[in-house]
């Protein structure tokens, strides 16, 4: 089944998408009709499919490929009240040089920090090519006025953020005010300028798979460059099933519009085994075009060390242990 191979650079697909969905976003009721007209999701079937792909056996060369790919897709994240420039510098060092004993280890895709840490991250990463992603829009709750959220976003961009990870207003979404959510995403997209925009749904709070599918389409027609599961701050974060569902959404969206959107599961992915399962989901759902850190990311912190330990084990044949990877 040939699918369109279009993958316009960020921003380029945006205008056309907005125009294509002008009728849909004309009012709250048209938007609601569109989102509620998307095919339903059978929860049992979705979870069964995710579980069945989880039984794929990825060994030897395939495992080596998957580990390196996963490392290259990590948004190495610190989002704590206790973050300091020193902590961020340490994280940046790790992102650029994940395994000091093996310089062939790929770099991570980005480091992900709060807006006030962007400057420190940018300075530490220099010209390494590792991107700086910043959460914004009153992360993680998103409970602030729109102008506060936009100011938060502009701050991060002004400090040099390459990517903005925004949260949607889950309250508005659950109250059925889809147009409000849509317009907020568009406003943040505009405030982000050239930075790529990741839209976080907090799938654990949206709760149903039908909601996650609707949120995915809402985000994509509003111009998201990435759709992202979670903040990592609630009980249920990325799961194979919700990520599979979002991969179906980006696949279908590209088939319909020609615009490719990335996916970022975040929170709770800690082991190599888990990461490989997510890559299998990508491979067999959205396909190979998404097996690239421009289109798929892991929001994670402890995952990296497990990937590094497994990588060392593949290279040396034995398991090194946690003292042979850096603790940052």
């Amino acid at each position: 089944m040939p699918s369109p191979q279009l993958s316009p650079p960020p921003g380029q697909g945006g205008a056309a998408t907005l125009a294509a969905f002008a009728d849909v976003t004309a009012s709250d009721s048209t938007l609601r009709r569109f989102l509620h007209g998307l095919p339903g999701v059978d929860a049992v079937g979705l979870e069964a499919r995710a579980a069945s792909l989880g039984t794929r056996s990825i060994k030897t060369t395939a495992k080596a490929y998957a580990i390196d790919l996963a490392i290259s897709m990590i948004d190495l994240t610190t989002l704590e009240g206790a973050d300091t420039p020193g902590k961020v510098r340490a994280l940046a060092g790790k992102a650029v040089n994940p395994d000091p004993t093996d310089r062939t280890t790929p770099r991570t895709a980005a480091v992900c920090v709060y807006p006030d840490m962007v400057e420190a991250a940018k300075a530490a990463l220099g010209g390494s090519g590792v991107k700086v992603a910043s959460v914004a829009t009153a992360f993680p709750a998103g409970r602030a006025a729109l102008d506060v959220k936009l100011a938060d976003t502009r701050d991060a961009v002004a400090a040099g953020a390459d990517e903005i990870d925004m949260v949607i207003d889950r309250g508005a979404f659950l109250a059925g005010h889809y147009l409000k959510v849509y317009e907020e995403i568009r406003a943040v997209k505009e405030a982000s300028g050239a930075a790529r925009l990741k839209v976080i749904f907090e799938t654990g709070e949206l709760s149903t798979y039908d909601n996650i599918r609707r949120a995915s389409w809402l985000g994509m027609i509003a111009g998201a460059d990435f759709i992202k599961t979670s903040t990592g701050k609630v009980a249920v974060n990325a799961t194979p099933a919700n990520t599979l569902l979002m991969l179906e959404a980006v696949r279908d969206f590209r088939a319909q519009t020609g615009v490719q959107v990335g996916v970022k599961p975040a929170g709770g992915i800690r082991s190599t085994k888990d990461a490989v399962k997510f890559l299998v989901l990508v491979n067999e759902t959205a396909g190979q075009d998404w097996l690239d850190n421009h289109w798929f990311r892991f929001g994670a912190s402890s995952l990296l060390n497990d990937l590094l330990m497994q990588r060392q084990k593949l290279a040396t044949g034995r398991y090194s242990g946690p003292d042979y990877v850096t603790v940052d």
Partner: protein
Amino acid sequence: MASAFDTASAFAYAPAPESRSVVDIAPSYGLFIDGEFTEAAGGKVFKTVSPSTEEVLSEVAQAGAEDVDRAVAAARRAFGKWSALPGAERAKYLFRIARIIQERSRELAVLETLDNGKPIKETRDADLPLVAAHFFYYAGWADKLDHAGYGRDPRPLGVAGQVIPWNFPLLMLAWKIAPALAAGNTVVLKPAETTPLSALFFADICRQAGLPRGVVNILPGYGDAGAALVAHEGVDKVAFTGSTAVGKAIARQVAGTRKKVTLELGGKGANIVFDDAPIDQAVEGIVTGIFFNQGQVCCAGSRLLVQESIQDELLDALKRRLSTMRLGDPLDKNTDIGAINSAEQLARITALADTGEAEGAERWSPECELPSAGYWFAPTLFTGVTQAHTIARDEIFGPVLSVLSFRTPDEAVAKANNSQYGLSAGIWTEKGSRILAVANKLRAGVVWANTFNKFDPTSPFGGYKESGFGREGGRHGLEAYLDV
């Protein structure tokens, strides 16, 4: 570049074969009669091959009429004591068998994959867990027969003659033997000639469990042995799973005798997809419905009835999904589609698919390289199929899906029921009231809603019309083995 890593290469899964060394297949096997492995009276043997490579796995004794006599006599001798045991004592044996099956499940999964050709993923995750579950389930009934709804102290029938097919060798054995033993019968079972090995390993498990001699007898052989067993004077109950043609012959043969019969025969299951279906899950259900076990499933969803308004969209999604399926070495843990069980079956599938093409249906298969040795058939779709096409009426028993369309729920029901068979059906819709309304009108023994090919020992299974009669599984499955 942010990364030294080249992502241009594809995510190619390296071979991940399950180890063959977990199973030790002997160069030859005998018949299992009265607790002993023994040669066939006529000294005949036949070879069993691995359908994925055509490698000879073992040489097996071939039962004839004389062996059937011996086995039925052994079962008759064992019946008195076995049926007189308190139910709780029979249950102990069944629980023991169930546990041994679990303990040896990896070995049995590999064995079944080798002898049958189905992927290890299926034997490991479907066949073997269900086999153990059936023994556990009926073990639980053995001391509760008073409460099965057939009055106090229902009596067993005696000796059960059971003939099973090659598509789920060990699972069909479990469906037959577990309820028979729980109810207090003794059995003589004939596995299919292309898949005798797991039944012979089961004979070994019976010995391991200390099952009294003669309670279970296994007679590998061909159709003549099956016919002799069914016709034998000493058999009180006949249970058959297989083709409708053989089922009819059996029904004629036992007509007018005291024998109680259950037949589980062919099918041409309709999988009905309404326009408000959960599309992605429906696609998975269609795939499970027709490509599980290479479509060699009597209850396969071999007719896809799709509402015309979503036909193109659904077929696009289905074709895209089929392109990701992995056909090849059944022992590879990532294989989705294994080998066809025999050259004979492959020829039948090929001929019916050719008929579909000759009658004007449009044929499609994903790009897919078939191994040079063994028996293989690519997953195949036929579109533009009408009720008049042979491939819409005849059971193909292979990975071939016939796609038909409908406009209204009434039309869907009419088309689904317009079949000589009535074994299974599926309904895909997000609307609960429609599920209930349509399910009530479908003439099929099992109706799945928003799922397909889901099995559970607690659920009765069986057919309408030419799909057979009697039920296996659940409380209902006990009736076939009780004198009620």
